[in-house]
Symmetry: C2
Subunit: 200 residues, 2 copies
Amino acid sequence: DVEYAELLADKFDIETLKVNMKEINEPLENRLKNIDIEETERSHWPQTKIPTPNPAEQNIQTRLRMMTLYYIAEKKNYVVMGTSNKSEILTGYYTLYGDGATDMRPIGDLNKTQVWELAEVLGVPEKIINRPPTGGCRGDESDRDEKEFGISYEDFDQIYESINNNDDLSKFEEGDVKRVKELIDAARDKSDIPTFKIAE
Amino acid sequence: DVEYAELLADKFDIETLKVNMKEINEPLENRLKNIDIEETERSHWPQTKIPTPNPAEQNIQTRLRMMTLYYIAEKKNYVVMGTSNKSEILTGYYTLYGDGATDMRPIGDLNKTQVWELAEVLGVPEKIINRPPTGGCRGDESDRDEKEFGISYEDFDQIYESINNNDDLSKFEEGDVKRVKELIDAARDKSDIPTFKIAE
Protein backbone atom coordinates (compact mmCIF):
# COMPACT_ATOMS: atom_id res chain seq x y z
CA ASP A 1 0.00 0.00 0.00
CA VAL A 2 2.86 2.37 0.82
CA GLU A 3 4.30 1.77 -2.64
CA TYR A 4 1.02 2.78 -4.30
CA ALA A 5 0.62 5.80 -2.05
CA GLU A 6 4.09 7.02 -2.99
CA LEU A 7 3.38 6.44 -6.67
CA LEU A 8 0.32 8.66 -6.40
CA ALA A 9 2.02 11.33 -4.30
CA ASP A 10 4.87 11.52 -6.81
CA LYS A 11 2.52 11.80 -9.75
CA PHE A 12 0.56 14.71 -8.25
CA ASP A 13 3.38 16.24 -6.24
CA ILE A 14 1.65 15.77 -2.87
CA GLU A 15 3.53 16.22 0.39
CA THR A 16 3.51 13.01 2.46
CA LEU A 17 4.22 12.01 6.04
CA LYS A 18 4.95 8.36 6.77
CA VAL A 19 4.07 7.13 10.26
CA ASN A 20 4.75 3.49 11.08
CA MET A 21 2.36 2.32 13.81
CA LYS A 22 3.37 -1.34 13.68
CA GLU A 23 5.31 -1.13 16.94
CA ILE A 24 2.09 -0.08 18.68
CA ASN A 25 -0.34 -2.24 16.74
CA GLU A 26 1.26 -5.47 17.94
CA PRO A 27 1.26 -4.84 21.70
CA LEU A 28 -2.20 -3.26 21.39
CA GLU A 29 -3.56 -6.32 19.60
CA ASN A 30 -1.93 -8.62 22.15
CA ARG A 31 -3.32 -6.61 25.04
CA LEU A 32 -6.85 -6.79 23.64
CA LYS A 33 -6.54 -10.49 22.85
CA ASN A 34 -5.61 -11.06 26.49
CA ILE A 35 -8.89 -9.66 27.77
CA ASP A 36 -10.64 -12.51 29.48
CA ILE A 37 -13.80 -12.86 27.39
CA GLU A 38 -15.44 -15.70 25.57
CA GLU A 39 -16.05 -15.04 21.89
CA THR A 40 -19.55 -15.26 20.43
CA GLU A 41 -19.66 -16.73 16.94
CA ARG A 42 -21.32 -14.90 14.12
CA SER A 43 -21.36 -15.20 10.38
CA HIS A 44 -21.36 -11.62 9.16
CA TRP A 45 -20.26 -8.11 10.06
CA PRO A 46 -22.26 -6.29 12.66
CA GLN A 47 -24.68 -3.93 10.86
CA THR A 48 -24.12 -5.44 7.40
CA LYS A 49 -24.73 -8.74 5.67
CA ILE A 50 -21.17 -9.10 4.43
CA PRO A 51 -19.96 -12.59 5.35
CA THR A 52 -16.60 -12.37 7.06
CA PRO A 53 -14.54 -13.77 9.88
CA ASN A 54 -14.92 -11.73 13.07
CA PRO A 55 -13.65 -8.25 12.18
CA ALA A 56 -12.52 -7.31 15.71
CA GLU A 57 -8.81 -7.78 14.94
CA GLN A 58 -8.74 -5.95 11.64
CA ASN A 59 -10.80 -3.11 13.11
CA ILE A 60 -7.94 -2.45 15.53
CA GLN A 61 -5.77 -1.45 12.57
CA THR A 62 -8.26 0.89 10.97
CA ARG A 63 -9.13 2.53 14.29
CA LEU A 64 -5.48 2.99 15.19
CA ARG A 65 -5.01 4.69 11.82
CA MET A 66 -7.99 6.94 12.56
CA MET A 67 -6.44 7.89 15.93
CA THR A 68 -3.15 8.69 14.25
CA LEU A 69 -4.77 10.82 11.56
CA TYR A 70 -6.81 12.73 14.15
CA TYR A 71 -3.79 13.24 16.37
CA ILE A 72 -1.97 14.88 13.48
CA ALA A 73 -5.05 16.84 12.37
CA GLU A 74 -5.66 18.14 15.89
CA LYS A 75 -2.05 19.22 16.25
CA LYS A 76 -1.96 20.91 12.86
CA ASN A 77 -5.54 22.21 12.75
CA TYR A 78 -6.18 20.07 9.69
CA VAL A 79 -9.31 18.37 8.39
CA VAL A 80 -9.37 14.56 7.98
CA MET A 81 -10.54 13.75 4.47
CA GLY A 82 -12.40 10.48 4.03
CA THR A 83 -11.81 8.17 1.09
CA SER A 84 -15.18 6.42 1.27
CA ASN A 85 -17.07 6.36 -2.01
CA LYS A 86 -20.83 6.00 -2.48
CA SER A 87 -20.69 2.24 -3.12
CA GLU A 88 -18.70 1.65 0.05
CA ILE A 89 -21.00 3.87 2.10
CA LEU A 90 -24.12 2.13 0.73
CA THR A 91 -22.79 -1.34 1.48
CA GLY A 92 -21.29 -0.32 4.81
CA TYR A 93 -17.87 -1.42 3.56
CA TYR A 94 -15.90 0.53 6.14
CA THR A 95 -15.04 0.20 9.79
CA LEU A 96 -17.39 2.13 12.02
CA TYR A 97 -15.21 4.70 13.85
CA GLY A 98 -12.25 3.48 11.80
CA ASP A 99 -11.78 4.44 8.15
CA GLY A 100 -15.41 5.60 8.16
CA ALA A 101 -14.52 8.23 10.79
CA THR A 102 -13.52 11.43 9.02
CA ASP A 103 -14.46 15.10 8.73
CA MET A 104 -15.40 15.19 5.06
CA ARG A 105 -16.07 12.89 2.12
CA PRO A 106 -14.94 14.45 -1.15
CA ILE A 107 -15.79 11.37 -3.25
CA GLY A 108 -18.68 10.16 -1.09
CA ASP A 109 -21.29 10.84 -3.78
CA LEU A 110 -19.39 9.06 -6.56
CA ASN A 111 -19.95 5.34 -6.93
CA LYS A 112 -16.96 3.07 -7.51
CA THR A 113 -17.52 3.00 -11.27
CA GLN A 114 -17.42 6.81 -11.33
CA VAL A 115 -14.32 6.85 -9.12
CA TRP A 116 -12.57 4.64 -11.69
CA GLU A 117 -13.71 6.98 -14.49
CA LEU A 118 -12.53 10.06 -12.59
CA ALA A 119 -9.17 8.39 -11.93
CA GLU A 120 -8.72 7.85 -15.68
CA VAL A 121 -9.50 11.50 -16.39
CA LEU A 122 -7.10 12.72 -13.69
CA GLY A 123 -4.34 10.46 -14.95
CA VAL A 124 -4.00 8.26 -11.88
CA PRO A 125 -1.37 5.56 -12.66
CA GLU A 126 -2.97 2.51 -14.36
CA LYS A 127 -1.28 0.26 -11.83
CA ILE A 128 -3.47 1.79 -9.12
CA ILE A 129 -6.68 1.87 -11.17
CA ASN A 130 -6.28 -1.78 -12.17
CA ARG A 131 -5.57 -3.03 -8.67
CA PRO A 132 -8.46 -5.12 -7.35
CA PRO A 133 -10.11 -3.33 -4.41
CA THR A 134 -9.38 -4.96 -1.04
CA GLY A 135 -9.96 -4.04 2.57
CA GLY A 136 -6.19 -4.32 2.90
CA CYS A 137 -6.34 -5.52 6.49
CA ARG A 138 -5.35 -9.15 6.15
CA GLY A 139 -2.15 -8.87 4.16
CA ASP A 140 -3.55 -11.08 1.40
CA GLU A 141 -6.35 -11.05 -1.16
CA SER A 142 -8.93 -12.68 1.12
CA ASP A 143 -10.68 -9.41 1.89
CA ARG A 144 -11.41 -8.37 -1.67
CA ASP A 145 -14.52 -6.19 -1.53
CA GLU A 146 -16.29 -7.83 -4.45
CA LYS A 147 -15.66 -11.34 -3.15
CA GLU A 148 -17.20 -10.37 0.17
CA PHE A 149 -20.16 -8.67 -1.51
CA GLY A 150 -20.83 -11.59 -3.83
CA ILE A 151 -21.24 -9.11 -6.69
CA SER A 152 -18.94 -6.88 -8.75
CA TYR A 153 -18.87 -3.11 -8.22
CA GLU A 154 -19.85 -2.60 -11.85
CA ASP A 155 -23.02 -4.67 -11.42
CA PHE A 156 -23.72 -3.24 -7.98
CA ASP A 157 -23.47 0.35 -9.21
CA GLN A 158 -25.62 -0.25 -12.30
CA ILE A 159 -28.31 -2.02 -10.32
CA TYR A 160 -28.28 0.50 -7.49
CA GLU A 161 -28.61 3.47 -9.83
CA SER A 162 -31.41 1.68 -11.70
CA ILE A 163 -33.29 1.02 -8.47
CA ASN A 164 -32.77 4.64 -7.48
CA ASN A 165 -34.08 5.94 -10.82
CA ASN A 166 -37.03 3.53 -10.83
CA ASP A 167 -35.70 2.00 -14.05
CA ASP A 168 -36.67 -1.39 -15.42
CA LEU A 169 -34.70 -4.05 -13.53
CA SER A 170 -35.57 -6.98 -15.80
CA LYS A 171 -32.28 -6.72 -17.70
CA PHE A 172 -30.36 -7.74 -14.57
CA GLU A 173 -29.99 -11.18 -12.99
CA GLU A 174 -32.68 -11.62 -10.35
CA GLY A 175 -30.16 -12.90 -7.81
CA ASP A 176 -27.95 -9.84 -8.30
CA VAL A 177 -30.83 -7.43 -7.74
CA LYS A 178 -31.76 -9.29 -4.57
CA ARG A 179 -28.17 -9.14 -3.36
CA VAL A 180 -27.90 -5.39 -3.95
CA LYS A 181 -31.09 -4.79 -1.97
CA GLU A 182 -29.85 -7.05 0.82
CA LEU A 183 -26.51 -5.27 1.08
CA ILE A 184 -28.10 -1.81 1.14
CA ASP A 185 -30.83 -2.77 3.61
CA ALA A 186 -28.35 -4.33 5.99
CA ALA A 187 -26.03 -1.31 6.00
CA ARG A 188 -28.72 1.40 6.01
CA ASP A 189 -28.51 2.34 9.68
CA LYS A 190 -24.85 1.53 10.19
CA SER A 191 -23.72 5.03 11.13
CA ASP A 192 -26.85 6.16 12.98
CA ILE A 193 -26.72 6.36 16.75
CA PRO A 194 -30.30 5.79 17.95
CA THR A 195 -31.13 8.05 20.88
CA PHE A 196 -33.96 7.02 23.18
CA LYS A 197 -36.54 9.82 23.04
CA ILE A 198 -38.74 11.13 25.81
CA ALA A 199 -42.37 10.65 24.82
CA GLU A 200 -44.13 13.98 24.27
CA ASP B 1 -13.24 6.74 38.39
CA VAL B 2 -12.81 3.00 38.93
CA GLU B 3 -13.90 3.44 42.54
CA TYR B 4 -17.14 5.16 41.49
CA ALA B 5 -17.81 2.59 38.78
CA GLU B 6 -17.48 -0.22 41.31
CA LEU B 7 -19.74 1.59 43.75
CA LEU B 8 -22.42 1.80 41.08
CA ALA B 9 -21.97 -1.78 39.87
CA ASP B 10 -22.26 -3.04 43.45
CA LYS B 11 -25.40 -1.03 44.09
CA PHE B 12 -27.22 -2.35 41.02
CA ASP B 13 -25.56 -5.76 40.87
CA ILE B 14 -24.01 -5.20 37.43
CA GLU B 15 -21.37 -7.56 36.06
CA THR B 16 -18.11 -5.72 35.36
CA LEU B 17 -14.91 -6.34 33.41
CA LYS B 18 -11.85 -4.29 34.26
CA VAL B 19 -9.34 -3.73 31.46
CA ASN B 20 -6.25 -1.67 32.21
CA MET B 21 -4.99 -0.03 29.01
CA LYS B 22 -2.31 2.09 30.68
CA GLU B 23 0.52 -0.11 29.42
CA ILE B 24 -0.61 0.66 25.86
CA ASN B 25 -1.64 4.27 26.35
CA GLU B 26 1.88 5.36 27.29
CA PRO B 27 3.82 3.92 24.34
CA LEU B 28 0.99 4.97 22.02
CA GLU B 29 1.12 8.54 23.30
CA ASN B 30 4.91 8.57 23.01
CA ARG B 31 4.79 7.20 19.49
CA LEU B 32 2.33 9.88 18.39
CA LYS B 33 4.30 12.63 20.13
CA ASN B 34 7.34 11.53 18.16
CA ILE B 35 5.70 12.20 14.82
CA ASP B 36 7.68 14.96 13.21
CA ILE B 37 5.09 17.72 12.88
CA GLU B 38 4.92 21.31 13.96
CA GLU B 39 1.95 22.16 16.13
CA THR B 40 -0.50 24.87 15.09
CA GLU B 41 -1.81 26.92 17.99
CA ARG B 42 -5.50 27.31 18.58
CA SER B 43 -7.63 28.55 21.40
CA HIS B 44 -10.62 26.21 21.37
CA TRP B 45 -11.70 22.70 20.48
CA PRO B 46 -12.19 21.92 16.85
CA GLN B 47 -15.93 22.15 16.08
CA THR B 48 -16.85 23.82 19.38
CA LYS B 49 -16.18 27.09 21.14
CA ILE B 50 -15.01 25.46 24.35
CA PRO B 51 -11.71 27.05 25.33
CA THR B 52 -9.16 24.37 26.09
CA PRO B 53 -5.56 23.39 25.62
CA ASN B 54 -5.02 21.29 22.49
CA PRO B 55 -7.12 18.16 23.04
CA ALA B 56 -4.97 15.85 20.89
CA GLU B 57 -3.38 14.09 23.88
CA GLN B 58 -6.53 13.55 25.88
CA ASN B 59 -8.37 12.35 22.79
CA ILE B 60 -5.90 9.46 22.59
CA GLN B 61 -7.31 8.15 25.87
CA THR B 62 -10.96 8.36 24.91
CA ARG B 63 -10.34 6.83 21.48
CA LEU B 64 -8.31 3.99 22.97
CA ARG B 65 -11.22 3.31 25.31
CA MET B 66 -13.59 3.31 22.33
CA MET B 67 -11.36 0.77 20.54
CA THR B 68 -11.31 -1.43 23.63
CA LEU B 69 -15.08 -1.30 24.06
CA TYR B 70 -15.64 -2.12 20.39
CA TYR B 71 -13.12 -4.95 20.47
CA ILE B 72 -15.06 -6.55 23.32
CA ALA B 73 -18.44 -5.79 21.72
CA GLU B 74 -17.37 -7.29 18.39
CA LYS B 75 -16.06 -10.42 20.07
CA LYS B 76 -19.18 -10.85 22.22
CA ASN B 77 -21.77 -9.54 19.74
CA TYR B 78 -22.65 -6.78 22.18
CA VAL B 79 -23.90 -3.25 21.64
CA VAL B 80 -21.83 -0.29 22.89
CA MET B 81 -24.07 1.95 24.98
CA GLY B 82 -23.20 5.64 25.01
CA THR B 83 -23.31 7.73 28.16
CA SER B 84 -23.73 11.08 26.39
CA ASN B 85 -26.64 13.15 27.66
CA LYS B 86 -28.51 15.87 25.78
CA SER B 87 -26.52 18.73 27.33
CA GLU B 88 -23.22 17.12 26.35
CA ILE B 89 -24.44 16.37 22.84
CA LEU B 90 -25.71 19.94 22.38
CA THR B 91 -22.45 21.49 23.55
CA GLY B 92 -20.29 18.94 21.74
CA TYR B 93 -18.74 17.96 25.06
CA TYR B 94 -17.40 14.63 23.86
CA THR B 95 -14.52 13.38 21.77
CA LEU B 96 -15.46 12.83 18.16
CA TYR B 97 -14.88 9.11 17.48
CA GLY B 98 -13.97 8.71 21.15
CA ASP B 99 -16.60 8.65 23.90
CA GLY B 100 -19.06 10.03 21.34
CA ALA B 101 -18.63 6.86 19.27
CA THR B 102 -21.24 4.34 20.37
CA ASP B 103 -24.15 2.28 19.06
CA MET B 104 -26.93 3.74 21.17
CA ARG B 105 -27.64 6.64 23.52
CA PRO B 106 -30.09 5.62 26.24
CA ILE B 107 -29.90 8.98 28.08
CA GLY B 108 -29.20 11.10 25.00
CA ASP B 109 -32.54 12.91 25.20
CA LEU B 110 -32.24 13.78 28.90
CA ASN B 111 -30.44 16.97 29.81
CA LYS B 112 -27.95 16.94 32.67
CA THR B 113 -30.51 18.31 35.13
CA GLN B 114 -32.85 15.45 34.24
CA VAL B 115 -30.02 12.93 34.52
CA TRP B 116 -29.41 14.13 38.08
CA GLU B 117 -33.13 13.84 38.84
CA LEU B 118 -33.29 10.34 37.35
CA ALA B 119 -30.23 9.33 39.37
CA GLU B 120 -32.01 10.41 42.58
CA VAL B 121 -35.09 8.38 41.68
CA LEU B 122 -33.02 5.29 40.83
CA GLY B 123 -31.07 5.57 44.07
CA VAL B 124 -27.64 6.19 42.58
CA PRO B 125 -25.19 6.75 45.48
CA GLU B 126 -25.12 10.44 46.55
CA LYS B 127 -21.34 10.41 46.30
CA ILE B 128 -21.66 9.93 42.54
CA ILE B 129 -24.52 12.40 42.05
CA ASN B 130 -22.69 15.11 43.98
CA ARG B 131 -19.39 14.67 42.17
CA PRO B 132 -18.66 17.67 39.93
CA PRO B 133 -18.75 16.62 36.26
CA THR B 134 -15.30 16.50 34.64
CA GLY B 135 -13.91 15.22 31.37
CA GLY B 136 -11.72 13.01 33.53
CA CYS B 137 -8.83 13.07 31.09
CA ARG B 138 -6.31 15.22 32.89
CA GLY B 139 -6.18 13.54 36.29
CA ASP B 140 -7.18 16.77 38.02
CA GLU B 141 -10.13 19.15 38.18
CA SER B 142 -8.95 21.37 35.32
CA ASP B 143 -11.35 19.83 32.83
CA ARG B 144 -14.55 20.45 34.74
CA ASP B 145 -17.31 20.73 32.15
CA GLU B 146 -18.95 23.80 33.64
CA LYS B 147 -15.66 25.66 33.98
CA GLU B 148 -14.95 25.03 30.31
CA PHE B 149 -18.48 26.05 29.30
CA GLY B 150 -18.42 29.23 31.37
CA ILE B 151 -21.93 28.40 32.59
CA SER B 152 -23.48 25.85 34.96
CA TYR B 153 -25.46 22.89 33.63
CA GLU B 154 -28.49 24.06 35.57
CA ASP B 155 -28.47 27.44 33.83
CA PHE B 156 -27.57 25.94 30.48
CA ASP B 157 -30.44 23.44 30.61
CA GLN B 158 -33.01 26.03 31.72
CA ILE B 159 -31.98 28.50 29.06
CA TYR B 160 -31.77 25.88 26.32
CA GLU B 161 -35.24 24.50 27.09
CA SER B 162 -36.62 28.05 27.21
CA ILE B 163 -35.12 28.86 23.82
CA ASN B 164 -36.50 25.61 22.46
CA ASN B 165 -40.00 26.33 23.79
CA ASN B 166 -39.94 29.95 22.60
CA ASP B 167 -40.34 31.08 26.21
CA ASP B 168 -39.55 34.55 27.52
CA LEU B 169 -35.78 34.79 28.03
CA SER B 170 -35.78 38.09 29.93
CA LYS B 171 -35.53 36.34 33.30
CA PHE B 172 -32.03 35.09 32.43
CA GLU B 173 -28.74 37.00 32.38
CA GLU B 174 -28.12 38.31 28.88
CA GLY B 175 -24.55 37.02 28.87
CA ASP B 176 -25.69 33.53 29.81
CA VAL B 177 -28.23 33.39 26.99
CA LYS B 178 -25.56 34.52 24.56
CA ARG B 179 -23.17 31.86 25.84
CA VAL B 180 -25.74 29.07 25.46
CA LYS B 181 -26.42 30.10 21.87
CA GLU B 182 -22.69 30.27 21.16
CA LEU B 183 -22.04 26.81 22.55
CA ILE B 184 -24.91 25.23 20.63
CA ASP B 185 -24.10 26.99 17.36
CA ALA B 186 -20.47 25.98 17.53
CA ALA B 187 -21.22 22.31 18.17
CA ARG B 188 -24.20 21.97 15.82
CA ASP B 189 -22.41 20.19 12.97
CA LYS B 190 -19.83 18.38 15.06
CA SER B 191 -20.87 14.85 14.16
CA ASP B 192 -21.93 15.47 10.56
CA ILE B 193 -19.66 14.27 7.78
CA PRO B 194 -20.27 16.59 4.83
CA THR B 195 -20.27 14.68 1.57
CA PHE B 196 -19.57 16.59 -1.63
CA LYS B 197 -22.63 16.16 -3.84
CA ILE B 198 -22.79 15.85 -7.59
CA ALA B 199 -24.85 18.74 -8.96
CA GLU B 200 -28.11 17.51 -10.49
